[in-house]
């Protein structure tokens, strides 16, 4: 459905993305994951037809984005990172306008608007002025705008950014539902989002692809080691020795003291071993006070670091 081959894009001397190649099959939900400035938005704008690539070829729904820009755009629904709509229009008149811009006329435009509102659950606000809607609803209007015209490909740039947790959950359900019949590419810089919605992940870092993998494989690759934060009310050296000799622990690192008497450590564990419960009871058995014990997730930056190092190493 989407074929990107050797695509680069630069603005003046700034290189936004370099030599990207990937393919997305029909019906897949693929996540573009990367920190800010990784080139996600640039790649998505190229797919949506906002501007052409500097080098390389991009095919969407069988059309070349450079040679056949209007047909490509007709096949793509785009939700921009900066959610935008004409604030002075009502939801339904705005979506009718969008349908007309996408080539539908009269009653066809009307039914497009109605079905897009239905799919996004915004029928209740159909006659409200967009400027008066809450952030969550505006985001849904943005998705409805992308859905109008029944495009076979949806490009969603950070669809959950700026929403509260409940709205984020709703949005993810919505996207999963949309992905049942369409090809979806969504970008995010939040790892759990990819895990909960996508079949496959493309990880971008500084304009290049760092990894392409299924979500399951990726989780395994990056979570092969666990990380636990422990704070113990005990002499530092004794505690360190106890922790480092514990079965399943690969390394221990002291943290600067945060409280009056407690010693804190970052403990790395071996792959696929959850030692938290055993570790906690052993500390208590020694007669020490267990102040805190929790697992520490890897930040996206750390994941990129390990993945880039993997790549350089292999």
């Amino acid at each position: 459905m989407i074929a990107v081959d050797g695509v680069s894009k630069s603005f003046g001397s700034f290189v936004a993305i370099e030599d990207l190649s990937f393919e997305v099959a029909a019906g897949e939900i693929v996540g573009l994951l990367g920190p800010n400035g990784a080139g996600k938005t640039t790649m998505m704008r190229i797919l949506a037809g906002v501007f052409p690539p500097s080098r390389g070829t991009v095919h969407v729904a069988g059309y070349d984005v450079v040679k056949d820009p209007l047909r490509t755009r007709a096949a793509v629904g785009y939700f921009p990172e900066r959610v935008s709509a004409y604030l002075d229009m009502t939801v339904s008149s705005y979506l009718r306008y969008v349908a007309k811009m996408k080539g539908f006329s009269g009653s066809a435009a009307n039914s497009q608007a109605v079905s897009a509102m239905g799919a996004c659950g915004i029928e209740a606000v159909a006659n409200r002025i967009i400027g008066s809607l809450s952030k969550g609803f505006r985001q849904r209007v943005g998705i409805a705008q992308a859905l109008t015209g029944e495009p076979s490909v949806l490009i969603l740039d950070e669809p959950t950014s700026g929403l509260d947790p409940e709205q984020v959950a709703d949005m993810r359900d919505l996207i999963r539902g949309l992905g049942e019949k369409r090809t979806v590419i969504l970008s995010t810089h939040i790892l759990p989002e990819v895990e909960s919605t996508c079949d496959r992940v493309i990880i971008l870092h500084r304009g290049r692809i760092v990894a392409v993998d299924t979500t399951g494989n990726l989780s395994r690759r990056i979570q092969r080691a666990g990380r636990i934060f422990v704070e113990i009310d005990a002499p530092v050296e004794d505690a360190r020795q106890h922790l480092s000799q514990f079965a399943g622990v690969s390394s221990v690192e002291s943290k600067p003291r945060s409280g009056d008497s407690a010693a804190s450590f970052i403990v790395m564990t071996e792959q696929d071993r959850d030692v938290r419960a055993a570790l906690a009871s052993s500390i208590v058995q020694r007669g020490w006070g267990l102040v805190e014990l929790r697992s520490v997730a890897f930040s996206l930056e750390e994941i990129f670091l390990t993945l880039t190092q993997d790549q350089e190493g292999s």
């Binding site: 501007f51 209007l70 709509a85 006329s105």
Partner: protein, 247 residues
């Protein structure tokens, strides 16, 4: 083609949905009405028994100033608002050509300008009903004013496409248009060859002929070229995203 109309209609709905449109229409109507009245009184008192001879020249030279005052305020939001809201990016993802976006907005502004001229036409019709006159010079003056106003619109449309700030958009448009007006003010300072070129470029000197009832094809061509030039610049300005990115 239908997309030009879709954009034009949305643009007009947005314009007439805002109070700004009515304020601009009211100011234009008041000022142009006042000039019409005072020029008519002036001609009657000072000039001759035939009230219409020479009237159009006075009236339309004044209307030129009101048009210069109002048009940049009409065109300032055309692209600047879309850039500020971010909706311009969405337009670029719809199956619509840049030129269709430009023409849709351009035609909407032209339509608004024609609506703005209506009350004045009513005054002329009223005068005609009391005192029939030769319509030729009036039509010539109207043609000139419409060409002048549409030229202003093309210029304002271009400036609007370069900024997301509506105030900047209006101010720069004023700057460019006033420059084209003042081009020939200090005629003594320029040498003869330079002056001929400057006179050729001055929007207002070109307009002057129309108010005297003279339609010179060269003047018409000049205005058409001026309009096309700024529409072309607008197109270039939109295309710049391809190498400059989306702001």
């Amino acid at each position: 083609m239908t997309r030009i109309w879709t954009i034009c209609r949305r643009e007009l709905q947005a314009t007439f949905g805002s109070v700004v449109a009515y304020i601009l229409l009211a100011v234009f109507m008041l000022l142009s009405g006042y000039f019409f009245y005072s020029d008519l009184v002036f001609i009657l008192l000072m000039a001759s028994f035939t009230p219409v001879a020479g009237l159009w020249q006075w009236v339309f030279l004044d209307l030129r100033l009101v048009t210069l005052l109002i048009v940049p305020l009409v065109t300032m939001r055309l692209f600047a608002e879309e850039k500020k809201l971010g909706t311009i990016e969405l337009l670029w993802t719809y199956p619509v050509r840049d030129i269709e976006i430009i023409l849709g907005k351009f035609l909407a502004a032209v339509a608004f300008f024609l609506v703005m001229l209506l009350p004045n036409a009513i005054l002329c019709a009223l005068l005609f009903s009391y005192h029939p006159f030769d319509l030729g010079p009036l039509m010539s003056a109207y043609l000139g004013l419409i060409l002048l106003g549409v030229s202003f619109i093309a210029c304002g449309l271009f400036v609007s496409s370069t900024t997301e700030n509506q105030v900047v958009s209006a101010m720069v448009t004023y700057g460019i248009l006033v420059f084209f007006w003042f081009l020939t003010w200090n005629e003594e300072a320029a040498n003869q060859a330079a002056l001929r070129i400057l006179l050729g470029l001055s929007l207002f000197d070109r307009f002057f002929n129309f108010t005297r009832g003279v339609i010179d094809i060269r003047d018409v061509v000049f205005f058409v070229l001026f309009i096309s030039f700024f529409l072309f610049l607008t197109w270039q300005s939109l295309t710049a995203r391809k190498w400059r990115g989306v702001p």
